[in-house]
């Protein structure tokens, strides 16, 4: 039955790119409300595709509005809500 389930769920810490020395590259899920970040890296291709198709691109600046219960952020004129599984796969600086 579940053949067409996407494999988007295996994102986690193991996929995290190496942190640079001063630790400025962080997953979106760790940003606090009011913090800004630039989308740097989305290592998981499935997540990347999802994000790209929503019109969110590497280099975009986002502003985090909420972290709980889900991450809410703004890019340009739009607001999006991602669950933590997705948000932890998006790395910003």
């Amino acid at each position: 039955m579940g053949k067409e389930n996407r494999e988007e769920d295996k994102v986690g810490a193991e996929d995290a790119p190496p942190q640079n020395h001063n630790g400025t590259i962080r997953p979106l899920s760790s940003l606090k409300p009011g913090e800004k970040g630039r989308v740097r890296d989305i290592p998981d291709e499935e997540i990347l595709r999802k994000v790209l198709s929503l019109g969110i691109y590497p280099g975009d600046t986002l502003l985090v509005i909420r972290r709980k219960p889900l991450v809410v952020f703004r890019i340009g004129a739009s607001q999006f809500s991602f669950d933590h599984r997705l948000a932890s796969g998006i790395f910003v600086e």
């Binding site: 579940g2 790209l52 198709s53 929503l54 809410v72 004129a77 739009s78 999006f80 809500s81 669950d83």
Partner: protein, 677 residues
């Protein structure tokens, strides 16, 4: 083909050529992502009304309308098609697939790409893809008022000349820019064939595209899909399309590796970035975003609603006033009471009775119209006096909440809870809509991302979500028995919903898809839109419900006359005994299959009209729970077959029946042992 869209609404197979959208090249197609006001534009253009909503994912079918166009030589009607929103040409959800198929099947004279002006930089890449595919496109910059208010700037003329297509600014909800748009459309009709726009791909990539395009068997290629675009999409990882086109997976793998090599990264990433880059270059120097601004009131309310501490109480307020007070008390109580007793009971039905007895010679024929199961006295009366007001008031509230943009925020709030039952927040819409009409809700489950979620949601709808007509009547039944009975009912149904959902999520393979959703700005619902939308939904409901009510009446009448009904009821009486119900309740369960609400309505009558042997509170309680859980109505069952397949529908039917009666029997046993009511 009488209904070109019908084929596109069917189940999800892409393994057949989609039918062409228009009979001749006499139509236009509206394309755009959710929340850009596409449906409002459709309404502004066509004058007729379809659903316009502030929730991503409520337009699941393709709406078709007609508009009058002035060609200078005279006015003519052309067709307008409005498929669901899509973010990109690589679909993630079923509705995006429906929209994309509409594009590929489109022999439209032109495509209106509708964008939210403020989000032009993020939506222009899709315009470029459409142009690259050779579709004649008009770019519609909608929500232009918000754009200007917020301080954005754009040189529209420059954009138009850089793209080489007409660009029109509109405010669809206010009718601004519509005339200009119509002129642009009329002009395109006299235009010759459009040439695909060249994109600045590297030469080696273009060679690869053409090589892949050359491998696509011509008969497999959708009539209105440029082979090179198909090639780009399959290289980007569109396996469904590749399968549909009959491409060899092994060769394709090699091509994808080659594309990755040429692009120096996965082509599925390179391509979107490429289009975005081209779009950014196009907007260079002519588009300006305003700086940061302080959040305004609307934004502050929006943020508050995302806060569980405010969002959930807000939900309770909406449920209490909107649904309980307005739909339940006023709609299902006051209005239904007035229609049923004062209008139908006192005037219409006695009159019909009299007429029937005077004009129809045989009793059996009289009974067909005005008997216990008469088409008029049962079918029409139930449909109009009991069900119609409840459903209408429900849709009114639902549409208002929907247009405000509250649902995406609710989806976000309930996501964590829903994940425990194998769904994600996105499923909140089918679930809430199910409280209005489960059949309609079953149709919208196709917006859910994974098969697992679609199956679970469909099943839970058929089991534990009572539709508004049913709920209204059950409210009336339980309401008179005290708040504790009502709460117990709610508790049992919710418990079953969660337990069955949880077990289902463990049994079915896979996981709920990750939740992501755009939160559209909160907007004050426009009353005319809300009313028109409610009427449109009513029309849909009515076209579907009245024939079933009539059919149910006729079948019951025939069964009654032939003695079949009595036999069936006798057969079901022992079952009623297990539930501790009077044997007469069997009738409600029997007709409940024709419509859930129908069965509940029968129960309502039984409880009211039977003063000497009136049902006790535990009986009412058990009957309400069992009837809520019991089989969906015929219409919902048909929709389940259509959306999920016959096998799933019949298995669900069996499971639902077992679960309903098992729960009823358990409750009865429990209440007999522990008389809490």
């Amino acid at each position: 083909m009488n209904s070109p869209a019908a084929g596109l609404l069917g189940p999800t197979t892409i393994e057949h050529q989609p039918p062409e959208l228009f009979a001749g090249r006499d139509g236009i197609l509206l394309i755009g992502s959710p929340n850009v006001g596409k449906s409002s534009l459709f309404n502004a253009l066509t004058g007729t009304y379809v659903t316009v909503s502030n929730y991503p994912g409520t337009t699941v079918g393709i709406s078709l309308g007609r508009m009058k166009l002035d060609f200078g030589s005279g006015k003519e009607h052309i067709k307008v098609a409005d498929p669901p929103g899509l973010y990109s040409l690589l679909p993630l959800t079923e509705e995006e697939r429906v929209a994309r198929r509409a594009i590929f099947a489109s022999n439209a004279h032109c495509i209106l790409h509708v964008v939210d002006s403020k989000n032009l930089p993020r939506q222009l890449p899709l315009t470029l893809r459409l142009l690259e595919a050779g579709y004649p496109v008009i770019l519609v910059l909608n929500l232009w008022d918000e754009f200007e208010e917020l301080g954005y700037q754009l040189d529209v003329t420059a954009l138009s000349s850089r793209l080489g297509i007409p660009v029109v600014c509109t405010v669809a909800t206010k009718g601004i820019g519509i005339e200009e748009l119509k002129k642009a459309i009329a002009k395109i009709f006299s235009h010759g064939k459009f040439q695909p726009k060249k994109m600045p791909w590297h030469k080696s990539l273009v060679e690869l595209f053409d090589q892949v395009a050359g491998e696509i068997p011509e008969e497999r290629l959708p009539a209105h899909l440029h082979a090179r675009i198909a090639a780009i999409l399959v290289l980007e990882g569109d396996d469904r399309l590749a399968k549909f086109l009959g491409l060899d997976p092994e060769t394709l793998k090699k091509h994808r590796a080659r594309a990755r090599h040429l692009a120096a990264q996965a082509f599925s990433i390179f391509a979107p970035l490429f289009y975005k880059h081209v779009a950014d270059n196009l907007l260079q120097g002519i588009f300006r975003e305003p700086g940061d601004r302080k959040p305004q009131l609307r934004e502050r309310i929006s943020r508050a609603l995302c806060n569980p501490l405010i969002g959930f109480p807000a939900l309770l307020v909406v449920l209490y006033f909107g649904f309980y007070q307005f739909v339940g008390q006023f709609g299902a109580g006051t209005v239904v009471g007035w229609l049923e007793e004062d209008v139908f009971g006192a005037y219409i039905n006695p009159f019909l009775n009299q007429v029937a007895h005077q004009t129809l010679p045989w009793e059996w024929l009289q009974k067909l119209f005005v008997g216990d199961y008469g088409v008029l006295t049962l079918g029409i009366t139930y449909a109009i006096a009991i069900v119609l007001p409840v459903v209408f008031f429900f849709f009114l509230v639902f549409s208002m909440v929907e247009d405000s943009g509250y649902f995406p925020r609710l989806a976000m709030l309930v996501d964590k809870g829903f994940k425990r039952i194998g769904l994600n927040g996105r499923a909140v819409i089918p679930m809430v809509l199910g409280l209005g009409c489960d059949t309609m809700a079953t149709m919208t489950t196709r917006t859910l991302e994974t098969r697992k979620e679609r199956f679970l949601a469909t099943f839970l709808l058929s089991l534990a979500i009572p539709c508004s007509a049913q709920l209204g009547i059950i409210m009336a039944l339980l309401g008179s028995r005290g708040l504790n009975v009502w709460l117990a009912y709610l508790g049992v149904i919710l418990l079953i919903l969660f337990v069955v959902g949880w077990v289902g999520s463990k049994i079915l393979p896979g996981q709920a898809a990750s939740f992501y959703m755009e939160l559209p700005p909160l907007r004050l619902p426009k009353l005319t839109n809300v009313l028109r939308k409610s009427f449109a939904r009513m029309r849909w409901y009515f076209a579907e419900v009245v024939p079933l009510f009539l059919a149910a009446s006729v079948i019951l009448w025939a069964l009654d006359l032939s003695g079949g009904l009595a036999a069936l009821e006798r057969g079901m009486r022992p079952l009623m005994g297990i539930l501790g119900l009077p044997g007469d309740a069997a009738e409600s369960f029997l007709i409940g299959f024709f419509r859930r609400d129908f069965g509940a309505a029968g129960l309502f009558k039984l409880a009211k009209e039977n003063p000497q042997g009136a049902m006790s509170t535990p009986q009412i309680f058990v009957a309400s729970v069992t009837l809520t859980l019991f089989v969906p109505c015929v219409a919902q069952f048909m929709m389940m077959i259509k959306e999920r397949g016959a096998k799933f529908a019949f298995v669900s039917l069996g499971l639902v029946t077992i679960l309903a009666f098992a729960t009823g029997a358990l409750l009865n046993a429990f209440l007999t042992a522990v008389p809490i009511f």
